[in-house]
Amino acid sequence: MRESVRVIRNLVESPWTNTLFFDREIACEPGQFMMVWLPRLGEKPFTLSYPNGITVKRAGAFTDALTALEPGDTLGLRGPLGRGYPPLERPALIGGGVGIAELRLLALRSESPTFILGGRTAEEILYFDEFQSLGPVKVATEDGSLGEKGLITDLLPVDAGSYAVCGPERMMVACRSVLPDDRTYYAIERYMKCAVGLCGQCTCSGLRVCVDGPIFQGAKLEHMPDFGRRRRSKSGRWEKI
């Protein structure tokens, strides 16, 4: 489904991260994503952090433009795309950096979630107050400005019914070494073009992240040696992760 929406609010979450709210809610499962279109600038994948909003970290020209939008500006949405999370019991939601944003809708739709959040500084720990109202929150920051000083993996393992991990791929690899593969789900990012399973661009060991994922069970990663190792760039050339 394509539609265009208007920005109704641009909320600064941190020096690098903004949440853009639209004038319309999108029916979407947690873990699914949208292709966000700015005419002449591009179309890139983002996960809804609100039924009517995305939380965007500036990473380049497109996200610079996106986070600079003002109320009244129009953007295009295509989606929802991909397969989200299965129903998770008593999940620990483990988020690093802007990956935390991708866990927000999942948190709202989960029963008794626990939160394990990590970032470089306190400013990267999104929705801290809100998450505290939903369940226990543990935080690790590299500079110690919030929670424990250190890496998110320092907070693991924790006891939970299931685990959802979203963050930089190297962080996810580290988490995976201490989490049970059958009850843990990882959100994989790959460069996306078509986002509907045609072009093969988003392959991770042959699975197309846009349709087979972006959420993968840990057990599946067992057979995906490219996870944490390499991905295809825009031309198809392999690049290291």
């Binding site: 591009g42 295009g76 072009c199 349709v211």
Partner: protein, 313 residues
């Protein structure tokens, strides 16, 4: 003409769809009923292709898909590494190639030949990066240039060579030149148009490349006609591409003259297991239609005799 190797089931993916050898392996592992896999078109040097958006998806099933990927490719060297690393288990590998002129086509063909069971020559992609100066568009329009390209490719490989035609051309003339130059068969065909889509919300063309080639059900009648006419004229092996989504579509192409059937847009939105399931359903439907007869009995049958008895079982 070199005969094509046996490809069974006679179903393959279309070039630019699935694209990479590791994806083909994942499909094989999922039990897809594809007897062969086609790489995305390999070009003479690394190229990024168009910026996103590169697709306009149908809002309703049956509507056209537009794409303007414009042939992104890693370098032939990287393709060599890739194809050496990931070999198919059982299926055949078809390497699709393109170039900016006949020399480039020849070079790419020579490099890819060791990995390929068939070389498919992409003569007619209607997409390009805006402003790009490329001969690709005109090659597929011009019998002389197409013949020259096939001649070079013919010289560069002993593997069977398929000339994949553009529906946006005088394709019978182009095909004649290709067959004369030594092609072993025809691909019928590439995407149509190109077409345009405008977003009413922003009032702007959607694709970064402005226009994009049309595929899916909208393309089927055109490429089916191409298949029918090429079979009548050349009686050569033909790969049918365009809007194949069901066993009926596959049977139509076979009756028109296709001995291999390529599936592209029908994989839209499908996970690997869903896509593999689709290929199995198509192949089971074709087999039920055949009622035990070999697939070869269907090929070109619309030109000869009525449907087999089993057709209406």
């Amino acid at each position: 003409m070199t005969a094509l190797p046996e490809i069974s089931p006679p179903l393959i993916n279309a070039s630019g769809i699935l694209s990479y050898p590791e994806v083909f392996r994942a499909f094989e592992a999922s039990g897809a009923a594809l007897g062969g896999y086609v790489t995305k078109s390999v070009g003479p040097a690394e190229k990024m292709g168009n910026e996103n958006p590169v697709v306009v998806c149908p809002e309703v099933e049956g509507q056209p898909l537009l794409n303007s990927l414009a042939l992104p490719t890693q370098s032939p060297e990287d393709w060599e590494t890739d194809l050496a690393e990931t070999r198919l288990e059982n299926a055949r590998l078809i390497v699709s190639i393109y170039g900016g002129d006949s020399a480039e086509f020849g070079e790419v063909a020579a490099r890819m030949s060791p990995f390929a069971d068939i070389i498919e020559v992409n003569l007619g992609c209607p997409n390009k990066v805006p402003g790009e100066v490329t001969l690709m568009e005109s090659i597929g329009q011009r019998p002389d240039l197409s013949g020259e390209v096939i001649g070079r490719v013919r010289g560069a490989t002993k593997k069977p060579v398929i000339a994949k035609l553009s529906p946006n051309s005088d394709y019978l003339a182009v095909a004649a030149a290709c067959m004369d130059a030594g092609a072993d068969g025809l691909g019928c065909g590439n995407t149509l148009g190109p077409g345009l889509a405008i977003d009413t919300g922003t009032g702007k063309a959607i694709l970064a490349g402005v226009t994009g080639g049309i595929s899916g059900p909208a393309l089927k009648p055109v490429n089916l006609r191409m298949t029918y006419e090429c079979y009548a004229r050349f009686g050569c092996p033909i790969i049918g591409y365009g809007g194949i989504e069901s066993w009926e579509d596959a049977v139509e192409y076979a009756l028109a003259g296709a001995c291999l059937l390529g599936i592209g847009t029908a994989f839209l939105g499908k996970s690997t297991s869903e896509a593999a399931g689709l290929t199995r359903r198509i192949w089971e439907g074709v087999q039920a239609y055949l009622g035990g007869a070999p697939f070869s009995e269907l090929v070109g049958r619309a030109h000869r005799e009525p449907a087999p008895e089993s057709a209406r079982a």
